[in-house]
């Protein structure tokens, strides 16, 4: 039983103390049995507090520590590290969650939150009183990582992992790599094209013998956990043999009678059921879109590489970690939103980029030359009424960069930017400056008075109450209206649902902590990168890809993982072997042994996973989990009752 427990109650800036009276909590717990010192701290995780804790533990010879702060998912390991640095066994540390499960959950009831916080801290003190010094259990982990998504973030992560020495399975749902970046032409700052960037990454990926790329492939099922995931991957064939002559391919595309909107060009053009998005796209092998193919057989007659005998395959892969880099979808405006879908010269920003790609000397759209372009910003982002409250971050910069490109590429272009405040943060500010110097006109409104798009006769007008000219109503006759659309999560979130990766308020994948654990999820072993986590530009996606690769690698590198020593324990005196524990255990961790003339159950600690399924089935109550004994649980229950 601990007699010198240190208790630290965190303000978390104001995240906790705005709702929980932390001083009152300290007063309420300082005289609890075994508590030697109780302190409040502005940030328990701050270096200064960690140092103070180490000093306290050493100077006062503390034998147990409780920190009441955020979720243990965030800082349990941090504080275990602190006590270890002070020479204490880390299992003599207990974490109390008074942020996610108290101050935030009950921010509507401050006295109620404070009272709950007191009981939660008392329960943690009750638990640490009985805590035992333990050693972690080691298990083998597979030195392989599955990277889901071969966009720029996924490819960058795959390269990093392979260079570090892991086996990498790069799994791409589409038939071609590059994701959204492949659809982009000139990129901001570097002036490199998206295709060039994709090519460089693809070449590097293919150089590594430890990267295996699967295209047309989807993760459909999985089992296991961190260190040892078993993945089932469905690979859909391209229906093309590995070698294909360009002449025959061209003929096959010509004879294909199917014509569908081309999603690569955001539906401003059409493509055939046999397709490649652009001639040099990787892998440099076309594919047949079987969702739309009519199996008429015309292509087979002119192209010997077409092979309809190819079958869907199911692969079983074993990996230690899964890195998700599944990207984003561009926001699709609703019909009538700023005239979209109703007025024929209203397009989205991604569509505009493709239009600019296809026009050489003159900027043309639907047979008309474009000179006056109105850009409406924040479409689908920073919504007042809609769900997308967030800023999509990349669009101001990308659009201004494109507006400059257009002005330099074609003659007599006039750009009008209808914005809600320009956010060309960081180095991109120079583009805003250049656009202004080139004569672009910026008109600004607040969110409660967005611009209005209307068609009068043959002409489309965009009207605004411009706050930069003292709320004057200004109007522009535009040849083309570009809706600067933001990023939204992938419409198909089947992989997120399969792996049960939590989503944040913005519906993108949610990290454990934006600053402190930015690429980890609460699903052990699953990391996230790129725009699957939220709007990011390419540079930010690369940063997160490298971080996620490093984190995933750290889980598989040593080939061994330290797991919690929470395994089952038999009370040999109480045990009267009946075999029920053996039946209940999914891992065959029990064996029948003879000891001191008595038949009893024995736990194989290396096999036991600490699930506790055996606990309730024992008729003699002879089983406990280490760290979760009856005494532990019942003392916590007692402490949670306010009058106890």
């Amino acid at each position: 039983m601990k007699k010198k427990i240190g208790v630290y109650i965190c303000h978390c800036g104001g995240n906790i103390s705005d709702y929980v009276d932390v001083e009152k909590v300290r007063e309420a717990v300082k005289n609890e049995e075994g508590v030697f010192l109780a302190k409040t701290t502005m940030f328990a995780c701050a270096d200064s507090n960690q140092k103070e804790m180490v000093e306290d533990i050493r100077k006062e010879a503390l034998d147990g520590v409780v920190v009441a702060s955020c979720s243990p998912k965030l800082h349990l390991l941090t504080f275990r590290g602190v006590v270890e640095r002070a020479g204490m066994n880390k299992y003599n540390y207990v974490h109390a969650n008074i942020r996610e499960q108290v101050s935030w959950a009950h921010s509507d009831n401050k006295p109620g939150a404070t009272e709950k916080a007191i009981q939660v801290v008392k329960a943690a003190i009750a638990k640490v009183r009985h805590a035992e010094a333990l050693e972690p259990i080691k298990v083998k982990s597979t030195k392989a990582v599955a990277v889901i998504g071969a966009g720029v973030a996924g490819m960058r992560a795959a390269i990093e992992l392979a260079e570090a020495g892991a086996e990498v399975y790069l799994i791409e749902r589409e038939y071609f790599v590059g994701g959204r970046t492949a659809q982009w032409d000139d990129l901001c700052i570097t002036e490199e094209t998206g295709k060039e960037l994709v090519t460089r990454l693809y070449d590097e990926v293919m150089k590594h013998k430890h990267v295996t790329l699967f295209t047309g492939a989807e993760l459909v099922d999985y089992s296991g956990s961190v260190g040892n995931f078993n993945l089932k991957v469905k690979v859909t064939p391209r229906y093309f043999k590995l070698q294909c002559s360009s002449d025959e391919l061209q003929k096959a595309i010509e004879v294909c009678p199917v014509e569908v909107p081309d999603e690569f060009n955001f539906n401003i053009t059409t493509r055939k059921a046999i397709y490649h998005n652009y001639p040099s796209e990787y892998p440099q092998l076309p594919a047949i879109d079987m969702k739309n193919c009519t199996r008429c057989g015309e292509c087979e007659k002119v192209c010997s590489s077409v092979d309809f005998s190819q079958k869907t395959e199911m692969l079983n892969l074993k990996v230690g970690s899964i890195l998700l880099a599944t990207g984003f979808d561009p926001y699709e405006p609703k019909k009538g939103e700023f005239g979209y879908g109703e007025i024929d010269n209203v397009v989205t920003f991604p569509q505009f980029k493709r239009i600019v790609h296809y026009c050489d000397d003159k900027l043309m759209y639907k047979g008309k030359e474009i000179k006056h372009i109105a850009y409406i910003y924040c479409v689908g982002s920073r919504q007042v009424d809609g769900e997308n409250k967030y800023c999509s971050r990349y669009c101001c910069t990308a659009n201004i960069h494109t507006a400059i490109t257009v002005k330099k590429k074609y003659k007599n272009i006039y750009n009008y930017h209808f914005n809600r405040g320009i956010r060309t943060y960081g180095k991109a500010e120079v583009w805003y400056d250049e656009s202004s110097r080139l004569g672009d006109i910026y008109l600004q409104s607040f969110e409660d008075h967005p611009p209005v798009v209307e068609k009068r006769g043959d002409q489309t007008f965009v009207k605004i109450r411009d706050i930069l000219t003292t709320d004057k109503e200004l109007e522009v006759a535009a040849d083309l209206v570009v809706l600067v659309t933001g990023m939204v999560p992938r419409a198909d979130n089947s992989i997120g649902n399969l792996l049960k990766v939590p989503k944040g308020r913005d519906k993108f994948f949610n990290e454990i902590h934006m600053k402190l654990r930015p690429v980890e999820t609460v699903i052990d072993g699953v990391t996230i990168a790129g725009a699957s986590q939220g709007p990011k530009n390419i540079m930010e996606s690369m940063n997160s890809a490298l971080a996620a690769a490093t984190k995933s690698f750290s889980l598989v590198d040593s080939g061994e993982l330290a797991l919690e020593p929470t395994v089952a324990r038999v009370n040999e005196e109480a045990c009267e072997w009946c075999g029920k524990c053996e039946e209940a255990c999914p891992y065959s961790a029990f064996e029948k042994v003879e000891k001191n003339g008595k038949t009893i159950a024995k736990v194989n600690a290396a096999v036991c996973k600490g699930c506790g399924m055996c606990l309730p089935v024992c008729p003699e109550n002879a089983l406990d989990l280490i760290g979760l004994s009856d005494e532990d649980v019942e003392s916590m229950i007692d402490a949670l009752i306010p009058n106890a």
Binding site: E100, S103, A105, T114, P586, L640
Partner: protein, 136 residues
């Protein structure tokens, strides 16, 4: 029911699981989905590990209800979790009946790692049930 305190609603003890339902309950806080502050959580590895004696202890010591936030089919320890957690519940309910307790004071529902709203809805409706039954 405990009187004279700020939190005088029905007291509910939640057994939640480290890997599955804990993240959902944490996320409910993150999303500011409010529920009664008389709902307390004890984390365990798997919902099928709950001993009936812990549930009875909680009810006898003053909790009005016990809610098992079960792993369901998402359990990382295997498919048998659902059935085994169900057995824990039925065994305990029988013990509660034998002791003259209302078995509806024990409730179980599968709470996945992103089931924040279902969790909040479950504990709110459970709290409402316990409030009504204590007044009847």
């Amino acid at each position: 029911m405990a009187g004279g305190k700020v939190n005088d609603g029905p007291r509910i003890l939640v057994f939640s699981t480290d890997k599955i339902s804990d993240p959902a309950i944490d996320m409910a806080g993150l999303l500011k989905l409010h529920y009664p502050p008389t709902v307390y959580t004890i984390s365990i590895p798997c919902s099928s590990a709950v001993k009936p004696r812990w549930i009875l202890h909680a009810l006898e010591q003053g909790f009005d209800g016990v809610f098992i936030a079960a792993d369901g089919t998402d359990c990382p320890y295997g498919e048998s979790c659902t059935e085994k957690t169900g057995q824990v519940v039925s065994t305990t309910m029988q013990m509660m009946k034998d002791k003259g307790m209302d078995p509806a004071r024990l409730k179980m529902a599968a709470i996945c790692s992103v089931c924040s709203e279902p969790f909040v809805n479950h504990v709110k409706s459970f709290s409402e049930y316990l409030r009504k039954s204590s007044n009847s």
